[in-house]
Each structure stands twice: as C-alpha cells, then as structure tokens.
Symmetry: D2
Subunit: 355 residues, 4 copies
C-alpha cells in the first residue's frame, strides 16, 4: 500500500531544469517524477545518469512527454522563450503547471497563459517566484501582517548578481527582457506581496549605467540600474539591480513601516562561519541565487504538489506574474528612454503626473 503521489514531468533540463527535476525526484515526498524532456542531447545524457535509473522516462520532444501515461503535472523549466507556449500546451492537455518565472518577457504573451488557465479553473497553474517560498521572506511577511512595523510604506529591494567574468550575461541580455524584467522582477513581486497584490502603479522612473559591460547597450540593457515605483495607495518602492557584485549574490530587501522596519538579508552570509585573520573578520556569502534560495525551491515544489493533490489554492496568484512583467517592462523602457512614465488609476499611460 502507498499514499497517492503526484505524477509530474519536467520540461527542460538546463541549469534550472536539472534542479527542479532533482527536487521533484528526491526532495518532494508526495511527488513522483515520472518524465522529463529536453531537445538537447547533452541534457538528455545527464538525465540518463541522474534520472532514468530512478524510473524517470526521458523524452526528446515536449509534446510526447505531455502524452506520458498518467502524467498529472508539469514543471516548465525550459528557456524563457518557450515558457508560455509549453505552459499553455500543458494546460490544454489538462495538466497542472508550475512555470519558472517569467511567464514571458512580453506582457501580452504572459497574459495568454492567464487566459488559458482561466479556461481550466480546475487546474493548478503557478508561476514560481522563489522568494515567496523562502523562510526569511515568509517570516518578514508574517511579522508585517501581524503589525510589527505598522503600515508598510516604503520598500527597498535589490537583486544583484555576482559578476560573471565570462560576460555571458551580454549574450543572455538579447532575450532576457532586460535587467528589470530578468532580475528586478523578483523585487517587484515582493512589492506586490508586501504592499498588496492590488497596488496600482502611478509612475515609474529608472536610470542605469554600463559600468563593466558597455556591449549591453546593443541589447538595450544596462549592468546596473535603479528604478522608482510610486503606487496609488501612497506607497513607494525602489529597486536596484546589478550584474557586477564582487562578493557574491546580494539579494536584500527592506520594508519600512510607520512603526518599524524589517530587513531580509541585509547582512548576507553563506553560513555561520567567520574567519579572523590578518585582513580582519570575514565571512563568505552565497555565490549564486541558487546558493541563497535552494530550500525555497524545495518548498515551492512541495507546496505546489500539495496544492494539486489536496485541491487547494496555489500559494501565489497567476495574475501577479503578469502584473510584475508589466511593471518590469515599464521600468526597462524608462531605463532606456530616460523618460519617467505615468499611469492613471486604470493602468493607462498618461502624459503627466497625477498629483
């Protein structure tokens, strides 16, 4: 006899795909990874060693995987460009979907996933914003909800990557949607989570530079950018994104309320070790976002699984994923044009600030 498990397949076996596949295989007790797909031969070779021996069926073609006998859910962890298409196909095939962020770098395409999901209300469709599953962010959110800081009013949040000396992120920028859509999307999602999912944007403005990679300009991107977002509910958020941190990944958030402040990761640390030597007192910090958020992804896999099996709401609404791309795109536009962008309360662009 055995308890029911969610039969899930993993689409894409790149860097994130491998992690999702292993998390569903090894660290999600109520799920059973039954299938995985990738068009890439090297990725499939990896899967033959790490997934197949545990009963995972491998597919070169995503559409074939969707037909896998008994498949109930799909985690879409492929290239961003095909997120929306694969998610919609899965929905149409009556599978629950956990889709890596973003649904798409385009607001319109993101919306098509929402539309597809709306047609199948019985399915669980979730876009994975990992920070929502991080224990520290959750603790901060709970404390805020309990009133620890009065009314939350100002958010500062940053997503800052360690400098990749290979400059890989230049080529990557061609399809990433830009630094605000690729990095700050997490911070934007946090603002919506902490300020309320119905917060309406009043204005956005942004500036940026290319301090280390001037070539980013050809893809309309920057390596450091700061953005301001003003909401109609009297709250403001400001974001910093960077590709050039020296010490490691620095994803920090502050929520400032009328009676207090909460910080998350204001003092980054890899672990609990400090080294005292003739240079002073030192600690190491996470090198990449997965170092920092590994267990958030595990929690995400488990909670998505529970939502499907127990027919409960997924922990975050799909609408938010479109909203975050909308704000990120506006910030990216402001970054490139240098113009501040104004919105009315209905979300339409207007020429002048509403005072």
């Amino acid at each position: 006899m055995s308890a029911q498990k969610l039969k899930i397949g993993c689409a894409g076996l790149g860097r994130m795909g491998k992690r999702h596949a292993l998390n569903f295989l090894e660290r999600t007790p109520r799920a059973e990874l039954v299938a995985a797909s990738s068009p890439d031969d090297a990725e499939l070779e990896w899967a033959k060693v790490h997934l197949a021996p545990y009963g995972v069926k491998l597919y070169k073609n995503y559409d074939d995987m969707l037909k896998h006998e008994g498949l109930e859910a799909v985690v879409v962890a492929s290239a961003t460009a095909v997120h929306a298409e694969q998610a919609i196909k899965a929905i149409d095939a009556n599978k629950h979907v956990l889709c890596e962020k973003p649904l798409s770098t385009s607001v319109e395409i993101s919306q098509t996933v929402l539309d597809a999901a709306a047609r199948k209300p019985e399915l669980k469709v979730m876009c994975g914003f990992s920070r929502r599953f991080d224990a520290s962010y959750r603790d901060a959110h709970k404390k805020m909800t309990q009133g620890s800081i009065g009314s939350p009013s100002v958010m500062r949040s940053q997503t800052c990557d360690k400098l990749d000396p290979t400059g890989f992120f230049v080529a990557y920028a061609e399809f990433s949607g830009g630094i605000f859509v690729d990095c700050s999307i997490h911070d934007i999602d946090l603002a919506l989570w902490f300020f309320g999912q119905d917060s309406k944007v009043k204005s956005v403005s942004a500036v940026g530079i290319t301090a280390v990679e001037p070539d980013l300009r050809k893809h309309n991107d920057r390596d450091n950018a700061v953005g301001l977002v003003e909401f109609y509910n009297g709250k403001i958020a400001y974001f910093y994104a960077s590709r050039m941190m020296a010490a490691g990944q620095e994803d920090t958030t502050e929520i400032i309320g009328t009676q207090g402040k909460l910080t998350v990761n204001a003092q980054p640390a890899m672990n609990l070790v400090n080294i005292f030597d003739n240079t002073g007192v030192r600690r190491e910090i996470p090198q990449h976002y997965y170092d920092r958020f590994e267990y958030a992804f595990v929690t995400e896999a488990n909670e998505f699984t529970a939502s499907c099996l127990d027919n409960k709401d997924v922990p975050l609404k799909l609408e938010g994923a479109v909203q975050a791309v909308r704000i990120g795109s506006a910030l990216q536009e402001s970054l490139i044009t240098g113009q501040k962008i104004f919105f009315d309360e209905a979300g339409n662009r207007v020429d002048k600030p509403r005072l």
Copy 2:
C-alpha cells in the same frame, strides 16, 4: 527499473526517533524506510498516520523488527539507556547501525558496542554526532585543514539550551549522564575532530552551579558548567554548557590557531530577518538544537546510507564516541568532586599534574 536502496528500520519513535524516521522516509533518496519499532503505544499511533501509509511496517518489539525481511540497516534512536543493547543486537543480526549519541553514558558499556562492531568489520557502525554533518562546521574544518589559521591550538565550544520552564531537565538528569555527557559531548567530539582523534587528555577540571534548578544536585548535576581540558599535544579546549539560555539554543565554537581564528555561530540567527523597532535592532535565534541542526541530520542520514550502499568508510570513527564519553565522564566527575583530574599519556589516572 530502479536504483538500489538501503532498507532501513528505525528503533524508537520518540522526539528524535520521529525525526530520523521521517528523514529516512522523505529526505534520503537512496534509503527506503521499511520498518520502525517502539514499545510505546502513542508513538505507534503516530507512526500509523505518518509512516505506515508509505509502506513502513511497524513493530512493538525491537527484536521482531530486526527479523524484518530484507532489512539491511537500523537507526537506533531510542532512549539512551538501550542504545548500546540495541546497537549490539543489530550488529549481531548483521545490520549496519547508525546510533544516536551517546552510545551509553558509561564508558564501559560504550566500549561493548565497539567490541561488537570490531567482530563484524564488514558492517558500517556509526555514532551520530550531528555537528560533524553541519555545513558550517564542515566549512570551518576544511578551512582549518587548508591552513587558514595555522596550527589549531585553543578551542572554545559551548552547547547551551534554551531554558525549559517546565524544568523537565531535572528528571531527565537522572539518566542523562550529566550536563557534560549530555551536552558537552558534542563539543568534546569537535575538539577531537579539530585537534586530531588521537589527542590524549592530560587533565580535566570543571566547575558548575545551579542557578535556576537546585534540584539538579540530587542527580549530581548542574545547570551551568565550565570545563577545561588539556591535551598532551599542547592544545587546550574549554567548554561551557548551560540549561538556561533566554533567547534560544546557543551552540558556538571558536578554533584559535597560531595564524587565525574560526568561529561557528558566534552570532546566532534563526534566519535572515532583522526587526527594527523602538527597542532597537533584533533578530530571533533557533529555539532548539533541531532548529539549528536539522539539515545536519539529513546529511547524516544520506551519508550513512551512501557508506552502506557503496561500502565506504563511515564519516566518523566509532572509537571517537567512546573517547568522547570518557572525557565527558571525567569532566562530570570533576564538576561534582571539585577536584582536578590528571592522566598520564597512556590514559591512566595519576595523582599529580605532569608538567
């Protein structure tokens, strides 16, 4: 087709037993929890809900569990008083054994486990000192081994529990072996790990008080104790153990070398959140040792499993477990008699210090 898994049974389903059972069930991909035993009906009721549905066979009697078809290994997580007996029975039944610390509060009984294991060199027998599996301690040990701090010379280490206002630890003290055997055993094991498993004790001395629970005196125990251990290799360790921390669990270690120092958990923190309010800047800390060492136990389960399946040495030698009890017992004796205790290099007690 499926990769081979280690069939393991869990002896004891108390606080730690439940955790070990769930870790082998859910978070040890290469193991299969096939059986669990407890003489306690309430514990078995819990197991009917949390283990049985996943195919785990339950036994009221440990000896019966040992006869479970195909059982290859046992995790002994019962009361300390039966650790040694159950471990030896498992060894005699040709099972690999992961035994919770300590093997016994008695040096002599601990030694009988070693003797049993020596008769079956093909079996993996390990006593679980959780800190050996903690990422921070491992990082510190690696850095020391790589020479970051020159020659390690002095260790400060403490195991300090949050005050349990129920005073449960008074009754517990009757069988715990005392605060040095129950708490400082971890710090002693760390000293042996960092200074070398062959470090020979030259002297021990200890003092202690009952600041919150005078009743501990009837069990020859104290609620706060400090011990000094001097080794023949020119190194010293000093330990603090307490039952009355106000903020939470505070297990801190410093390793001071001739060219630097490593600290582990000198600034305890539950997570990455800081709260700024009108009392200042505040963070919460782990409340119990499992809050702090949860993932160390998961790693322990996985590495023990890998040792069994791949026929590799277990990560820590069983001899150390006896050695740690020997030092802990001497410290406890010094704590109670008030006398300093001296040893010659062969480990025999002598009357006077060797200078």
Copy 3:
C-alpha cells in the same frame, strides 16, 4: 609661555550652537573660545553657566561679537535663515568662518557666500558637512581611493531620522528647504566626495509620500522620499530620506564599484553591547544624528582650527556646498512636481533626456 591658539566666537547657541561652543571650548586644544552670541535670552542664560565661567564673553548681538578684540574666527551655528548673512559679515570683518550646513536653502544666497569668500582668499571659509570628518566615512573614502573597489559607480545613501512623535518637523519644514535639502544634502555631498567634486548632473527624479505627517504637504514636503541622480560621468546615486524611523537614526551609505563595495553603517549600533533575552538578540542604535556623529564634529572643529592656524586648505571646498544645495533643490522640486528634471553638461535645464 604658551602655544598660539585660534580665538574663535560662536554665533548661535541653540542645539547645534551649544555643541559647537562646547567643542571649541573643551575639545579643540588649539582653539580658544573667546566669545559667543545669541539673541535668545534662554540661550544666554545657559551660556552664563556653561561658557562664561571659562572666560567666554557673551553677546546678545552678533555684530557686536564680530568686534570682539582679537577675534580671528567665527563658527556660524545659528538658524539656517541667517547662516549666509552672518557668514558674509564675518568674512567682511576678516574672520575665518566655519558655517553649519547648509549655507542657505537657496542656491542664489548660497552663492553669495562663495562670492564673499572669493574676495578674501586669505580667509578660511568652510561649510561643515560632518560626515566628511567621520572616521568610518574617511576610512571608506581612503579604501576607495586606494582602489579597493575598482571604479566607484553607484552610490546608495540615506539620512533617516527617528520619528519625533511631537511632529516638530512639520513646523520645521516651513524653513528647512524640504527633506532633500535638509537631510539628503549630506548624502549628496557624499556623492560629490566619492564620485568627484566635478561630477555633473544629467537628471534628477524623486518620489515621496506622507506616511505619518500629511500636514507636511502644506509646506511642500514629504516624510519619506527617494531620489535618483544621474551624472554625466556615468555614475548614479540614489538617496532615501525619512522622518519616521522607529529604532533611531539610520544614516547608511554604500559605494558600489566595479570590483567591490564599501558600506558605512549598514548595521547600525549604538555601542558594542548585545542583549539576549526572550525576544531574541538585540542591540540599540543611535537615537539622533549627534549620537552618531559627535566625534565627527569634534574632528571638524580641530581641523578647521588647524587650517586657520597653519594656513592650510580647509578639508572641503566651499563650492561643494553650493553644488549640494543645487542638487538638493532640484530633487525637492521633482519630488513636488512629479516631473523628472534634465540638465545639459553646462548645468542648464533642458526639456528632454540626453541619451
């Protein structure tokens, strides 16, 4: 026999005036406070107790003090509204001048002090930006200059006051020039110091809210504001100013370079004490800016004195004080109008961003 001392008078004996007077009296060995003036009787009463017994002559009228026999220098610590007038009178009377910031909330009036100083190049005229004298900021600046972080590219800096529950800052806002001119002026000065005094502004934009004091709006001010400043040298700075911190004064700065980052006061602390209790681990932080910067003011007094006595350049150029007011005023305007403001390289306003 005695070494020469600088004979100095203090104009204004309000909160800052008292501090400057006492610093020159007690903590500036090479200066001699010979005179002090205030139109306020209560302030003069204070001075009769704390200054007069040590030989300080008191004046109700500033102009009279300027005629004090042998007076060589004046520290202007009166209300902001008379800073410029008193500074110019002192210059015209051939006194060295240390003027509290800002010279004026008006760019034009600030400039008149510069003009006056330019006519008397033999005099030392300095506007006191206290952070330039703070040991931590100086250490950070030195490390940056030595190349620790590569090329400085992005600055984040904030000046955040503890909430004053009396709401005094509402009345104060009538004359303060607004939160960017009153608070962020320090951060702006830091940006000029770290990025180069000749950094030319390309654009400014700002948003703000009144989270705790809606009445600030009648003085065209806000209680929380964020501003972005873009420079023509490819650097950006972003500032946060607030009147509603719960824990205390939080003045924090980060300088992000192409190869590293320096933070100043990212983990504020009043002293070296931590309190562990059942709420967690806690530390207190400075309550007001003088708690934080007391010794910077002492250093300022001593270095200004040395400049006068030894005929050396003052540590910071007077031009910067006008430049900082110019940027602060533009940010304040953007905060109120909601419009982004653009400049050409000559400092003239233009309609559109220069891309």
Copy 4:
C-alpha cells in the same frame, strides 16, 4: 575669571604616559597638566615638543615633580615596577593619585598602596581599570543592574592581544606578573564589578600553552591561558587570555544571567565600514587595546578630575585593585603548577574543595 582646574602632573612618559599626559592636557577640560616627569631622555625630548609649549614643566626626577608649586594630583603612568612606590610618595606628599593598573604584580606591595591611602582619607586614590569607563561596559552594567538578565551567574571574559611578531612580550613577561596578572586582570576586575566587589573566591584553576613563544616558559608564562574562578556566592567566571590573535585586539565579555545574557564586543569592529570583495564581506578590528579603549581613558581622566575637584568618591574602590591582583596571582600559580587552588570563605588557602 576662570573656573578652577585641577593641577596635575604625569609620572612616566612611555607609551601610556604620553597618552595620559595628552589626555590631561587636551581632553580633560577641568584639569591643567602642569608637570611631567621621566628619567628617560628620549621621552623628555618628546615632551619638549608636545607638552612644554603648552606650559607643562618637565622633570627628570619624579621627587622633584612632586614639589612642583601648586601641584594637586599625579597620574602614575610609569613602569609597573615603580607604580606602588610613586603612588605612595604622592600620597605622602598629599597629592591625589590616579595610578595605572596594576598597583603592583605583588599582592603585598599592592596592599601597601592601600595602607598609604587609608592614612589620608581626604585624598582621592584610584587604580585605573579602563574598562570601567568604557561606554559599552557601562551600558551592560547598567542594563544588568536594571534587571535585564535576571541574576548574573556566569561570566566569560577574554583579553586577547594581537600577535606582536617581534616577540617583545617575551622580555616583557619577566616583569609583567604573567598573562593572568597582566591581561586577565581586566576580566577579573569586570567579574568583581558585575558579580559584586565582595564576591569571595572558592577555587581557581588554569591551564595554558606556548603555541607561538616557547621562550615564555623561562619566565613562568604562557601565550594562551584559560582560567576558571568559582565564587562562594554561587557564581563562576572563566577567562581566556592570549598573545596571538591574528586580526587584532579581541576583548570580549559575556554576562549570563538567569533571564538573559549581555555581550560586550562579541563582534569586534574597528569602525562602521564593511568591505565586500572577492574574498567575502570583511571588517577590520582594533589592533591594540588603546584603539579599543581610547575614549575610556579620556573618561577616566575626566571623572578622576571631577572626583578631586568636587570631593566625590572615585568611581571604583582601591580595594578592588588588590583583590584583582590576588585572583590573578592565584590563577598564574595554578597555570604554572597545574594544581587547582582552593580557598575558604575567609580567603585562606585550603587543601580541598569546599563542597
């Protein structure tokens, strides 16, 4: 007219003498440094440049300085060997005395200073334990007194110097009284301050090593030592002293009470700067005790001066200085003999522990 100032002379112009002289000259407004003495020509040359121009009369002979017209007080900052003699001479000449710690490395000689002071109750005689004047230690003491941690029960305190690669401390050890008398004396004084000046010692035991300077053994000293002190009031203190810190001066104290814990300097830091680079996040720490305690010495000078001028009790009792040497000497003896030492409640040595 001028307020009365305390006319003080400084005996000794070595490292600490220079600091005391300058503190009384420049940073003690109510004192006037009128004289200084040193038998050392190089020190007198320094004084001709730094003290004489400000009206300080220099003496090669201490006895001559004592006859300086109008001299009211003496700060004894000479070599430890002459502390007691000079202090007694000053007392006999009716001068107030601030004497650097320790009065002497001998308990008996220390007592003679007490006896001399007892004969002149109108004089202020103080032994300067700098930590008593440090803002952080005072804050911790105040919090303890206010009940923040319940009943203080256990103290951990360490005085750890940065390794001096010249090995100067080997020669220094000949006269220092040993590491417990020279370094831990501060921690011992803290224990008496926090536990009560009337705390009676029940036992002491100590162990130590020579990890970096074996030559210390010829002076009966060690470079790392740990000591345990048990008091009759049910409190315990444990001390660590070291000469081999790599990062800088690390003087840390924890006071553990029945309801909380206070730490002082558990996270040492030179200033508020953090450096993020490819080695991680780093801060520098004080290099020497004066870096750490500079302002404590200034406070000490000012409070001693106020006690003399206002005829108030000095902030710490002279008896404590003898008591601290007594405990330090016993620890040093235990360190060398390897024996634990026991006392009865009257302070007499006994053979066995009192249980």
